[in-house]
Symmetry: C2
Subunit: 141 residues, 2 copies
């Protein structure tokens, strides 16, 4: 197993998308916290500047991880939604979260939920993804 595996993991091209401070935060905001608007992202606790936010949303859209649309009944507000490609990043987000919980625990106030997350990883990921899909379905009719 080991040898063949060494030539794998060509993650560099993937990190062109994920390898920055904001992309994963935005995707987590969408998937876990169900944020959808420029305003909501902008108000994120981590404090992203509007210029960076705009460029990051554009990048994510260009890579097909999110879509941008206006609702028919609301002309002024843009809605950003994850595509399946973006929703599929849930496992990455969960693993990063778990690692952060283990080694940067000072930033984490809620331990119980993490225990559950660790033991029930797969089902929680599926639930998270399914919930998001249903929310999207309700929005775009």
């Amino acid at each position: 197993m080991k040898k063949e595996f060494r030539s794998l993991c060509p993650i560099a091209s993937t990190l062109d998308i994920l390898g920055d401070k904001w992309s994963l935060v935005l995707i987590r905001d969408m998937l876990v916290r169900e944020k959808k608007t420029f305003k909501a992202f902008s108000a994120s606790e981590e404090g992203i500047a509007t210029g960076i936010l705009a460029s990051r949303l554009k990048l994510l859209e260009s890579f097909g991880l999110i879509t941008k649309r206006k609702l028919p009944d609301n002309k002024k507000e843009n809605i950003y939604l994850l595509t399946e490609k973006g929703i599929d990043l849930a496992p990455v987000i969960i693993e990063v979260t778990l690692w952060g919980d283990k080694y940067m625990r000072k930033y984490n106030p809620e331990l119980k939920a993490y225990e559950k997350l660790k033991t029930d990883k797969a089902s929680i990921i599926s639930t998270l993804q399914e919930n998001y899909r249903q929310m999207v379905a309700k929005i775009i009719v």
Copy 2:
């Protein structure tokens, strides 16, 4: 489950370490490809500049993800090894790899190994980590 989960995932602080183009590439090089020297990292297919490499290694060391040491029998060569904290990033690397395989497949020449990886994720991660620990044990005696 959903509501309590929303306040979680404070990944921003974690992304101060992981959220850049090179950190995860270096950790993958160490863990999966067993690279250990400045020279080896420098020769990585992705082409990192020496200045960036030096600063990145220093950063990873300062966060306790890697250690730097000289072997007693070789005074000129520095050896960089992952700590447990770094080895524990294996799940993240695997998930990023799998996502990249699914959505950036043009960069991936070996599909069979990925199928195995997908179905056998947990055991492959353990094996990978255990192999690395044994290699480290052999080196530092």
